[in-house]
Amino acid sequence: MSTAIATKPILDVRDLTKSFVLHNIDGRTVTGLHNVSFAVAPGQHLALAGTSGAGKSTLLRAIYRTYAPSSGEVWFRLSDDSVVNLAQISDPEIVALRGRQIGYVSQFLRAQPRRSVLDLVIRAGVSRGMNVADARELGILSLRRLNIGEQLWDVHTSVLSGGEKQRVNIAAGLISPPRLLLLDEPVSALDPENRESAIQLISELTHQGVAVLAVFHDLDAIARLATQIVVMQKGRIINNGPVDQILPLLHPGDVQP
């Protein structure tokens, strides 16, 4: 069990394998992850690198249980210091952890078309156990930090631009810092200025002790945020080390979406 490790990782993934059985395409099996093992400690930011199809997003989804792991263990440390295997716990337990202890921000906004920007962010906070007043206060704070001006707060999310949606998504995802944050290209659609604010915000969370596991498609974001880099290829980890050791080995093509 992970308790033996001195740094006490928040996430400890062991031999995680994910296969998809495609019943309606001649029953073939496609394996997206092969025996993946790594750990992320509090305050560590682990960037996943690798070309398109390497298995980066698959890994994030398998940890969040959007994909059901086929074998292996995904140990997650709760706030009371006990550990649970995310690959095994029940669906209601996963629902209880999502948003509260495990955050997931992707490049796509999964939002209800008729919900206003501020309402969406407030509800994200409320679903994490905040009262409405606190959620409102913190929501407004993070929307301001991400340059979502007041004139957009009561606008329905469906009319926002791609970059605005992405920032609202980040604000909603970060309103109450989870213990583990999974980021799937969260800044990919942002212009330089907004990208800068988002990167700042993510960096602060890491400093607050959140464990981050992220996929970015540019080396600059990785250089500025990551403490650790895991390089993947064809569903396997081929390299794992501190950012100063791995970064010099990477080419822009190694982090393409």
Partner: protein, 284 residues
């Protein structure tokens, strides 16, 4: 032992089944998803639902998906008591401390329990509403059934509910038949909330509505489920409805549950061959 706190379940359904026609030995084996039919070839009986098990917590909505005739509405109607079940055990934590199987209550107790605790929102408002009666009158009906006698009190409650469901108050004394489809559905939802139910059963609540109207009704339902911490079951063949309202769902096929999953997992990583077909058809 995991230390994750999960909400207690309000509804517990075990071994629920409904068979139309004679029940003979082997009827279960001769039907179901793996056989490809719900109809027993020997007797012609229809095994509309069998061995259905799930739990729903307060503040949680469970989705039931599947094609027409898969048994999803049957399950809903068995729980509501609209039809008699052939087998099973259904308990509500909020009714007699969960010590009674709702399926074996006598008719009078069952009716009373239904009025106090369980509401259904039907696809067709004509099933849940008296179309020739006013919006206010439709809401007054469950209130008087629950023992409300004060006219002004009933009017005030009806006004409050119509306001919450965004029905213009100046339409309160118009008969429901004069309302649009979306507005009828809002009145049905207002009526369903009249007695502060603990469990709400939604049977294709937005099917047949225009997309823009449907999204408004869905948004309303979602807000109300959150606000009142309701336990809900949402039956729909429309994945966007399931995705918007639920975190977990079950898939039914020829009367059987073939998959039980997190909603995002069902959409991204369905396991059962039938679920894979259903999801890829919906995504096409």
């Amino acid at each position: 032992m995991s230390k994750i706190v999960i909400p207690d379940s309000v509804l517990k359904v075990s071994g629920l089944g409904k068979i139309y026609g004679p029940i003979t030995d082997g009827a279960i084996e001769r039907t179901g998803s793996h056989v490809g039919t719900a109809r027993d070839s020997q007797t012609g009986s229809i095994v509309a639902a069998w061995d259905v098990n799930f739990e729903v917590a307060a503040g949680e909505a469970l989705g039931i998906v599947g094609e027409s005739g898969s048994g999803k509405s049957t399950v809903l109607r068995c729980i509501a008591g609209d039809i008699d079940s052939s087998a099973g055990d259904v308990r509500l934590a909020t009714f007699e401390n969960g010590e009674s199987n709702l399926l074996s209550l006598d008719a009078a107790t069952r009716r009373k329990m239904r009025i106090d605790q369980v509401s259904v929102v039907y696809q067709d408002p004509a099933e849940g509403l008296a179309l020739g009666v006013t919006a206010g009158g439709n809401i007054a009906d469950p209130l008087t059934a629950a023992g409300w006698r004060n006219f002004e009190g009933i009017r005030a409650r009806a006004r409050d509910l119509l306001q919450r469901t965004e029905v213009p108050l100046d339409r309160m004394d118009d008969i429901v038949r004069s309302f649009s489809g979306g507005m009828r559905q809002r009145v049905q939802i207002a009526r369903a909330l009249a007695n502060n139910p603990r469990l709400v059963l939604l049977d294709e609540p937005t099917t047949g509505l225009d997309a823009s109207v449907a999204s408004g009704v869905l948004d309303l339902i979602r807000g109300l489920l959150e606000e009142f911490e309701l336990a809900a079951i949402v039956v729909s063949h429309d994945f966007s409805v399931i995705e918007m309202l639920t975190e977990r769902c079950i898939v039914m096929h020829h009367g059987r549950v073939v998959e039980n999953a997190l909603t995002d997992q069902l959409l991204e990583d369905p396991h059962h061959p039938y679920s894979q077909k259903l999801v890829s058809a919906a995504r096409a």
